[in-house]
Symmetry: C2
Subunit: 234 residues, 2 copies
Amino acid sequence: MGEHIVTSFDQELGEIDRLIRRMSELAGQMISAATAALLGSDMAAAQRVISDDTLMDASQRDLDERVITLIAKRQPMAQDLRTVVGALRMAADLERIGDLAKNVAKRVGAVGEAASPRTLSHSIETMAQMVMEQLDETIEAYVGRRPDDLAALRAGDEKIDVKYTAIFRELLTYMMEDPRNITACTHLLFCAKNLERIGDHATNIAENGYFMITGQQLPLQRPKTDETVALRGA
Amino acid sequence: MGEHIVTSFDQELGEIDRLIRRMSELAGQMISAATAALLGSDMAAAQRVISDDTLMDASQRDLDERVITLIAKRQPMAQDLRTVVGALRMAADLERIGDLAKNVAKRVGAVGEAASPRTLSHSIETMAQMVMEQLDETIEAYVGRRPDDLAALRAGDEKIDVKYTAIFRELLTYMMEDPRNITACTHLLFCAKNLERIGDHATNIAENGYFMITGQQLPLQRPKTDETVALRGA
């Protein structure tokens, strides 16, 4: 009987994992499409990303409802409860990632076809790629129940932060060179910041996933730093 | 017996309310101190805000643990569960508000004693004040179980967004006037954006609190918009 309950619980947890993976796939598509729309000044593509965010919100509500039903039906004990509550947090991080991708899409019109140098476009594209890989690997490591990989993935976020700092400096330089660049570069600055925040949420997911699998907090939580907050001058 | 359980549940929910109010008070102090530190270039005060954030993180962990213990002990049914899960969300919003205030404090050094015009300082101070009132009134309406007030409070966030848009335009103007202002103004832009985000989190808290009290979603969720995403030129 106890065995049966545990199995059903695990099955339902597996169902929740599938929803998490689906949210993560949608988030990845949104990041990719928003970045492409930004760099190609594609307003129609940007609009599709903005619409996709409602799917993301609906997925989070689905997942929340499923978790609440699971708790009410199975009445899991403390450790299992922590795991299930962790799923709510993971869904919240994924929903927020969708929001951040949507925000990048919303800036496509304001950035316009500003003659952003090729090196800058390349930097933003690279950063978006890093962020998508980070998210994808994190979710796969969580769904595959590989806590050591989740612990190792935190190092990936540091590389994203370094990239963000480089882009931040680059953008300040363009603004100083020509004041006509200021508005577009300001929006690009927020876009880069959004990508950096997505990396932070992937780190949250890794730490949370580690806790859900092992019941332990990851030792020495890496501080989520934005090095640019201390940059004076460019 | 049923009566007794309900009463204990409500008592423990009251205990959770007290923790939420304490987190909100700390968040308000952090916003106030971070803004004062920013406008007065007070590095020591900024450092205290940064330290306070660890208290905020600890409070969230406390609250999460208390909620998990409450669920495990009382095994509440679906509607009560939704309320309790709502408390987890509220704590997450408050923790994030603390993070955003900390981020303002971290930028104090980078903004430096940039000769920011008096009108700009005044605008930022006013915006911080609006945000603090919004948060405080929201938490009081929630703790006082006044759902109509929570519904009404959403209008307050629109005023904050209007203020943010004005500050955004003002900052772009200073950058264009003198490129030497660019770095400091960029950091101030992120500070203003953080205040705007705090307003969004207060709105989340109002909507979530309304749901916790009434079991109903607020009709026609006000879209959390950042009007500046579409601003081309200043």
